[in-house]
């Protein structure tokens, strides 16, 4: 396997323009002869499906939810970055590019990030034209805020529901194309297999989740926009249904999986209350602008109510360790610090896995009314979930799995190592390096869907003769259908004693313990021993009631868990091999004296992409070297 990035040469400011010109075009009257499948209907998927249909391609779109509007992009709260410089505070495309490369701890491909910063500007224009109700100033112009520690105000937002509004914009564009008959939408359909003929992606196999019917769809190109694999931790801020089955099928058919160990743990989530917990709820990062994070200095104080702990017995550990950034230190840094104090036994709350986020100083300074104006809806949500009033007692927060920077490897055209298979949004690995900055995920999803894939896929299709797609009777299609049917049958017929959730929970515990915020060689090795045992137990003892020919949520869950178990193993393998600390990947052996991440640019300034080598064999690690010609390698410091 060779990783050819197809990154254009020349000055970075010109590379995307030059590349677009170099891409071959498809004759307008030929476009309708090409069929493209888009799997997933979130920001990247819906944007791509709508835009490709507008261009004239025949498009089919698939979602596991009952409507494309429910994709998990909808849950993003904070905002979307764009280098508009509307606030005249010195922002520019280059600065957004620079911040993103640095924030990603120098583990992203420069050319991709530059392009992302360039098209960020078009995204805002597009979304406003669609009717996305972004926040405005009294003069009628767009409002911005600074987010996630950025030193300029470049984040556009729609209350605390930016993801929802952007997704509805893309969804409406998609529905318009569905109404016009240009996109055929398949809701409640889950991709089960990728059809590959002579090494080229030619279609997918899906299961109708209502009738259980397995059908094949052949096409000239396939786009996966299926999101990340954060649910490998069982508890995460992802939706319950978020899964990695589509990318994992593609991996097993030959698509390289890049940097699986890069996962983002978000510092401000509501802590776990017990074993029944099914998901974790994010509290917007903006709370850290006014809240102060602390734990008791003494272990024996941890059980006391917060207001009985005097000021001198409180440890405002972020302010102590990072005096200049304080409570606004980046996500990875804040998360690790919280874990550290809890590991020391100074955590708070019934489970002792939590830290205080205290607004009492801000309320004293600004008044409760001002705080309510700023954070009222978040305080309300907190109270709804915890039954505690954050105006009176400090909030309790704890880190949780939130986003995965790793994903299928793609070249500059967003094409995976399987020709014809494109990967968009969180599902690919391309733009965030080892750590994603706040308000950048929405930007990347929409950039890929609206402004990258429509060009690059044309360049690929121009090289294929129209009307050459395979028929549904092709042996490759039949074989893929067969393998899906067999897998389903196998899951149903085990008839064991444990539920799929049981195994998912077990996996999650191992991943959180050994491949979470702090990773060690010993821990990862241990995880690599336990995970195969979980897998073995799963295939021996899982219980899936019902049949494959009906709406069967246990079966859906079991299929996803089976894949998560394998992904977890690959994550640990990748984390073990990456003997450095960078961004969301913190190897405890590689830290500075102050406990900060220590990169090893000499040996690890590269993307690690894993190639599947068959059942039972160790996957092969490939390398794409990263060059930094525009931003110079430097150590991140938030002191």
């Amino acid at each position: 396997m060779e990783l050819i990035s197809r990154t254009p040469d020349g000055p970075i400011e010109k590379s995307w323009d030059k590349h677009r010109f170099d891409l071959k075009l498809v004759n307008p009257s030929n476009k309708r002869k090409y069929k493209i499948l888009v799997v997933g209907s979130g920001l990247a998927g819906a944007a791509a499906a709508a835009t490709l249909a507008e261009l004239g391609y025949e498009v089919e779109c698939f979602a596991y939810q009952d409507s494309p509007r429910r994709a998990h992009s909808i849950a993003a709260q904070g905002g979307i970055n764009a280098a508009k410089n509307y606030q005249n505070d010195g922002d520019s495309i280059f600065r957004l590019f620079y911040d993103t490369v640095k924030g990603g701890d120098f583990r992203a491909r420069e050319a991709n990030v530059y392009r992302l910063a360039q098209v960020s500007v078009n995204i805002i224009d597009q979304c406003v034209a669609q009717g996305v109700p972004f926040a405005r100033e009294y003069g009628g112009l767009l409002d911005n805020r600074s987010f996630g520690g950025a030193q300029v105000s470049r984040t556009f937002y729609a209350r605390g529901q930016t993801g929802q509004q952007l997704l509805l914009g893309a969804y409406q564009a998609l529905e318009r194309q569905i109404g016009l008959g240009k996109v055929k939408m398949f809701n409640r359909h889950e991709m089960q297999e990728l059809i590959v003929v002579d090494g080229v992606a030619k279609g997918i196999i899906v299961r109708d989740m209502v009738s259980g019917k397995v059908t094949s769809h052949t096409a000239d190109a396939v786009c996966l926009a299926t999101g990340g694999y954060g649910n490998v931790f069982y508890l995460s801020t992802n939706a319950k249904g978020c899964n990695a089955t589509a990318v994992w099928r593609a991996y097993k058919k030959g698509a390289a999986f890049a940097n699986p160990c890069y996962t983002q743990i978000h510092p401000t989530c509501i802590p776990v209350t017990g074993d029944h917990q099914s998901k974790l709820t994010l509290m917007s990062e903006s709370l850290r602008n006014d809240g102060r994070i602390w734990v008791p200095k003494k272990k024996e104080d941890c059980g006391k109510p917060a207001n009985q702990i005097p000021e001198e017995d409180r440890d405002y550990y972020l302010e102590r360790k990072y005096p200049s950034f304080g409570n606004l230190a980046p996500r990875d840094v804040s998360s690790r610090a919280a874990k550290q104090v809890c590991d020391e036994g100074r955590g708070v709350g019934p489970t002792r896995l939590g830290v205080y986020l205290d607004f009492s100083d801000a309320i004293k300074r600004l008044g409760a009314k001002k705080i309510e104006e700023k954070y009222g809806n978040l305080f309300e949500m907190y109270e709804r979930i915890t039954d505690e009033n954050p105006y009176e007692v400090p909030m309790r927060i704890f880190p949780a799995s939130h986003y995965t920077m790793g994903g299928l490897w793609v070249d500059y055209n967003l094409m995976s190592t399987i020709p014809g298979l494109f990967v968009l949004g969180e599902a690919n690995f391309s733009d965030h390096g080892a750590n994603r900055l706040g308000a950048s995920a929405l930007m990347q999803g929409l950039a890929d869907g609206y402004f990258v894939i429509p060009y690059t896929i044309g360049g690929y299709l121009a090289g294929i003769k129209p009307g050459t797609r395979i028929s549904a009777e092709d042996p490759a299609v039949k074989a893929a259908e067969q393998s899906v049917a067999e897998r389903t049958q196998r899951l149903i017929s085990i008839g064991g004693k444990q539920t799929p959730t049981h195994f998912h929970r077990e996996l999650g515990k191992v991943m959180w313990e050994h491949c979470g915020m702090g990773r060690t060689e010993a821990g990862l090795k241990k995880a690599l021993e336990i995970i195969p045992q979980i897998r073995e137990q799963f295939w021996k003892d899982v219980c899936v009631p019902g049949s494959g020919q009906e709406l069967n949520q246990s079966l859906e869950m079991a299929g996803r868990v089976a894949d998560f178990i394998e992904i977890g193993e690959l994550m640990c393998r990748d984390a073990l091999e990456r003997r450095e600390s960078c961004g969301g990947h913190f190897r405890e052996e590689w830290q500075t004296e102050e406990g900060e991440a220590r990169r090893d640019d000499e040996n690890f300034c590269h993307v690690a992409a894993w190639e599947y080598k068959g059942e039972g064999n160790t996957p092969q690690r490939h390398i794409e070297s990263l060059k930094f010609e525009n931003v110079h390698l430097a150590t991140r410091s938030y002191k």
Binding site: I178, L180, V210
Partner: protein
Amino acid sequence: MSVAEQSIAGAGDRSPGFMASSVGRKVVMALTGVVLWGFVTVHMLGNLTSYMGAEAMNHYAEFLHTMIHGMGIWVFRTVLLVAVLMHIWAALSLTLSNQAARPVGYREKQNQAATWSSRTMRWTGVILGIFIVFHLLHLTLGTVHPDFIKGNAYHNFVTGFQVPWVAAFYIVAQLCLGLHMWHGVWSFTQSLGWAHPRYNALRRNFATGLTVLVVGVNISYPIAVLTGIIH
């Protein structure tokens, strides 16, 4: 095609036409409703002449029959008849659509905002329909009146209400009118799109005020007759 597959919506003009559409029928309901509560209000005011004695009331009745050379009353009657029929048509049609929209009901349903008034519209409407027929037979045509004298409205009014069960029926009907109007008068503003936070309280208060006035005065008539205030 499986249920999960989204079908392609038909191209071209999707609208079924104003009168067939759900909003259009509501508008018909609202506009005919305005005619009806407008009439009821005027009717109530006109009958205040009964407190001024036989001469005033008979004079008023005569005026109604002779205005615009006797044409006026027929114009009113035609407008009212059309309004009533369209109101009933809209009600029937909407009710049928609404019942068809939920073939399987809930075992348990807790209403939060719907009022007794809004939920009983179709029943109070039916009772009012029956009442109108009775009222016409009673005081316009006199067929069910024990002592009807054509042209002597005051006499018919007083002797009519002296029968206790008739007076009771009128009072019950007026209470139904109250329930019907309280939701209807507010509802018409909503159906015609007249909602604004600045005027929302006013809309509610107008409906309440008008309802209390119309029903209060109307109920006073049979009571006044029974208690001998009007005789």
